[in-house]
């Protein structure tokens, strides 16, 4: 069983928990390849997907995962709800819970929203991204994809390239990869790498070519234009960014070994990664999406086991 009751961040997980999630995700991947892609395990559970921020991949992935486990799903998106009328987070959630919802999957713009909520409500909470804090399921599926492609994560060299400062995916990935024994490096312009990130045990590199020569796996992050504060320019132009830190086929082919290319999505084609790289054999971007459903099924299945026992 998992050692945690909510999945709020990779920081709280132990290595055994991560390996348990991976082993169950293997079985759920098999379920997804069956003619009937459903198991009846969670048919008595209702899950609410609360997305206070936009999402395509994560929301669909969670919804599919829940439906494949036969759970009932309710979706909530902030843009079409009473949050616009000023309803608070706790009120929104309590109203939803009053309708006997057992589990909440939440994406919110404020870091720590999940932790705050876990102190006020009884349901199990899965963090689908909270501000610039963590995005645990993304990190789990990234590590799972590396394990699938390369056999194991321990000892592998992974570089995360891009806007590290504003990236919850980067933080969660760093925690997850380190817990599994990989070596992590971050690469990006000095303006987009937080100070003192070496204290997390990661290497820092500002030259993309050197970073790619070192690594076995490159995880390219999107430039978070919506997060960058208005008026603060982290780099002169997008074109200059993509010349220095963008990955194209010429650069990929010039490396001394074949590396694995990953991207959490959505891709800004031509900025951090070009189309020919994104669609090449070395990229496992679509595998990441496929694994996302299996990982999320495993997480929901394991968390549901820790919920209160069913009584008559």
């Amino acid at each position: 069983m998992l050692s945690v009751k909510h999945l709020l961040g990779i920081k709280d997980l132990r290595r055994e928990d991560i390996e348990l999630i991976f082993s169950q995700a293997d079985e759920f991947k098999e379920v997804l390849s069956r003619p009937i892609k459903k198991v009846p395990t969670l048919r008595d559970i209702t899950v609410a997907n609360l997305f206070f921020e936009n999402s395509t991949r994560t929301r669909l992935s969670f919804e599919l995962a829940e439906k494949r486990l036969s759970a009932d799903v309710v979706n909530f998106s902030a843009s079409s709800s009473s949050v616009k009328k000023g309803e608070t987070l706790v009120d929104t959630v309590n109203n939803i819970l009053a309708m006997k919802v057992d589990m909440v999957v939440m994406r919110h713009a404020s870091p720590g929203a999940g932790i705050f909520l876990s102190r006020h409500i009884n349901a199990s909470i899965v963090n689908a991204g909270d501000g610039t804090h963590e995005h645990p399921t993304q990190a789990l599926l990234d590590a799972f994809s590396i394990r699938e492609k390369l056999g194991e994560v321990a000892g592998k060299k992974v570089v995360i390239v891009g806007d590290i400062t504003h990236s919850r995916v980067a933080i969660s990935n760093i925690y997850c990869l380190q817990k599994l024994g990989a070596e992590v490096m971050v690469c990006g312009p000095t303006t987009l790498i937080p100070k003192h990130i070496e204290s997390m045990g990661v290497k820092v590199e500002h030259n993309l070519v050197k970073a790619l020569e070192w690594c076995d796996v490159a995880n390219m992050l999107r430039i978070q234009l919506e997060r960058q504060d208005a008026g603060v320019r982290y780099f002169p132009t997008l074109r200059e960014y993509s010349m220095q830190y963008g990955l194209d086929k010429k650069l990929l082919n010039s490396l001394s070994k074949e590396i694995v290319v990953m991207h959490p999505g959505p891709i800004n084609r031509g900025v951090e990664i070009t189309s020919d790289v994104a669609d090449s054999d070395q990229s496992i971007i679509l595998d990441q999406v496929e694994n996302g459903v299996a990982i999320r099924m495993a997480v929901i299945f394991l968390l549901a086991q820790r919920m209160e026992r069913r009584t008559s």
Partner: protein, 273 residues
């Protein structure tokens, strides 16, 4: 990795473990060099200490290491027997009886195989499915024997895990961990031989059956079990091929052991006191 366990020696278990007299009231600390009892390759270290030891941990350890060598030779065999029992998942106070030994088990498997051949001939339209986890070992043994008896026929074999179809999800404190399911063929129109080692309440079989039916609509499903614990059924499940029927109580457990787990092929009846 070291694992430390401690037991208090009482009059009762002093006698049971055949320790020399005068040790009751002492506490035994077991330091085991592996985390899995059943795979001990070297004898454990243990310390006998009376009362509460007020020395520091490292000092106690040093004393222990010196005392241990003398005690280890004296107690080795007896302690290993106790550890073996723990490895089987029992307390030291569980009694065990061998229901079926290796030779009889081989004969039973042989007989079951011939019974299967009688009904399925060359297995052209038949599939053998083993139930995770322990039905798989039995199924593998049966498939191997079938291939020896009839080398020309192609035996189709699959494995199913019942975890996602169980009816005790969130009803017990047991942690449910799924094991691999691998059914590489369609089951549509096939005659299925469903194999498990022990049939007790029938709930696991019911779960496995539900899972299996999602792979197609079989022509028929037959159940093969090594041990049929009669009169303890909680669902209407009936086996067609039975290795041995056993009448047992609730406080008893039937355990099937295989050579490939270490030890030998045999079936044990364990009774908790």
């Amino acid at each position: 990795m070291w694992l430390i366990m401690s037991w208090k020696i009482s009059r009762k278990n002093q006698k049971e473990w055949r320790l020399r007299p005068g040790l009751d009231g002492w506490k035994v600390f077991f330091l085991l060099p592996h985390s899995n009892f059943a795979h001990l390759s070297e004898p454990p270290l243990f310390i006998f200490a009376k009362g509460v030891c007020s020395f520091s941990r490292s000092f106690r350890f040093t004393i222990a290491v010196h005392i241990v060598e003398l005690l280890r030779i004296y107690f080795f065999e007896r302690v290993c027997e106790v550890i073996d029992k723990i490895g089987l998942g029992l307390s030291a106070s569980m009694r065990q009886v061998t229901l079926i030994d290796s030779k009889l088990l081989r004969l039973i498997i042989n007989r079951l195989c011939y019974q299967l051949i009688e009904n399925h001939d060359e297995f052209k339209e038949s599939v053998i499915i083993g139930l995770q986890p322990r039905g798989v070992f039995l199924a593998e043994n049966i498939v191997e024997r079938l291939r020896q008896i009839q080398p020309k026929s192609i035996i189709q074999f699959g494995v199913i895990d019942p975890t996602f179809y169980r009816d005790d999800f969130r009803r017990s404190d047991k942690s449910l961990i799924a094991l691999p399911t691998d059914i590489p063929m369609s089951l549509e129109g096939k005659n299925i031989v469903f194999i498990d080692d022990v049939l007790y309440t029938g709930r696991t079989i019911r779960a496995g059956l539900e899972g299996m039916l999602e792979y197609g609509r079989p022509a028929s499903v037959e159940l093969l079990v090594l041990i049929d614990r009669r009169f303890t059924r909680e669902l209407p499940i009936e086996p067609k091929y039975i290795g041995k029927s056993v009448d047992s109580y609730d406080n008893q457990k039937v355990k099937v052991m295989w050579k490939k787990d270490g030890g030998e092929d045999k079936v044990l009846l364990l009774t908790e006191n």
